[in-house]
Amino acid sequence: MSVVVMERVVFREDRCKGCEVCIAVCPQKIIALDSRINKLGYRSAAVKDQEACTSCGLCARVCPDAVISVYRPARPAKPAPAGEGRKAS
């Protein structure tokens, strides 16, 4: 399957419980709850503006339901803040 390269943040929306923790933590303030209810009965979180994402990974690191995967472009447009990558903690 091919992947849309420019999606830095991918939400498995049917796993989201709408807890809003990712929303609170995102430095870019680009996550919000969807209006539609997923099959768990919750409004899922989603990123409104993929372009604004810095791939900082904070949302993924706080999500209690492993909903979120974060990527950065192979040649990063904006480099992710140092020390916040997966191997860095």
Binding site: V5, C19, V25, R61, A66, V70, P73, R86
Partner: protein, 275 residues
């Protein structure tokens, strides 16, 4: 299946975490901690040689959420069950996942004696200051003044005593090789939690003795808060009562060596008494 990916993963869910939706409430940090344990299992390559022991509490279904072999233990007895597994299969990496009701109330004896014997097991201890699964009763970790189903007027020190500091007590045991308390209230602390869990597993892998990480956690449902409020409550209310840090570390030199830490802790006795 394969595709030309022009992006590099910064974060992907760990493979040791089962690909299922959990029964945890929205925002409950049980989920985040599960994820972190699974990350460490991935990193250290433990999935094929670990046996996890789920306890009785909200995390009772942990046996559905981790990809390693799992046992489900009776309430409070996970350290005994882990001892049984580890003693007969010392080559395995055995760990328990226990709540504060499970570990700090009914199961205090089992965890203390496992530490005393220096059992080479790793304990993940979720301190959320309440009994989550049974609907929000007081735990020994409940804060003074905190309202719960069984302290409807707030925990009263003169009636129920003060919050228990189990990590500090365990650090006094010579058999305890790594004891730390961390928190989940923000990404930085989640990172420290991950580091502590990793060190705890390494302690076991290197055969140094008992290891435990106490993790300050939320129970938004029974605290009657939103998940975000709950994280803030951990930071503002729990952390001052439960100091974070490493209480015992076999790796560290100086004051952090087991003997020194024990000695420091024992220094509570200033003088001979009597007379």
């Amino acid at each position: 299946m394969s595709s030309i990916v022009e992006r590099i993963p910064v974060y992907e869910p760990p493979k040791s975490l089962s690909d299922v939706s959990s029964h945890y409430c929205p925002g409950c940090t049980h989920g985040a901690t599960h994820r972190i344990v699974a990350e460490v299992m991935d990193e250290l390559g433990l999935t094929d040689k670990a046996v996890g022991i789920a306890s009785v509490g909200c995390s009772v279904l942990a046996y559905n959420y981790f990809e390693c072999d799992m046992q489900q233990a009776a309430h409070g007895r996970a350290p005994a069950v882990a001892t049984g597994v580890k003693r007969v299969r010392p080559e395995l990496v055995v760990w328990t996942y226990q709540g504060d009701g499970d570990l700090a109330s009914i199961g205090t004896n089992e965890v203390i004696h496992a530490a005393l014997r220096g059992e080479k097991i790793t304990v993940i201890f979720i301190n959320n200051a309440i009994y989550g699964m049974t609907g929000g009763q007081a735990a020994p970790t409940t804060l003074i003044g905190q309202k719960t189903a069984t302290t409807p007027f707030g925990r009263d020190k003169s009636w129920s005593g003060s919050p228990i500091h189990l990590s500090e007590m365990l650090a006094l045991q010579e058999g305890a090789a790594f004891i730390a308390r961390t928190s989940t209230h923000n990404p930085a602390h989640l990172g420290r939690t991950r580091a502590a869990i990793k060190r705890a597993f390494q302690t076991q892998l290197e055969g140094k003795g008992f290891s435990l990480v106490e993790i300050l956690s939320t129970c938004p449902t029974n605290w009657g808060m939103t998940p975000v409020e709950a994280l803030k409550w951990v930071e503002e209310q729990m952390v001052p009562v439960y100091p974070l840090g490493i209480f015992k570390d076999w790796q560290a030199d100086g004051a952090r060596s087991p003997a020194a830490a024990g000695a420091a802790a024992k220094s509570a006795k200033p003088a001979e008494g009597g007379k």
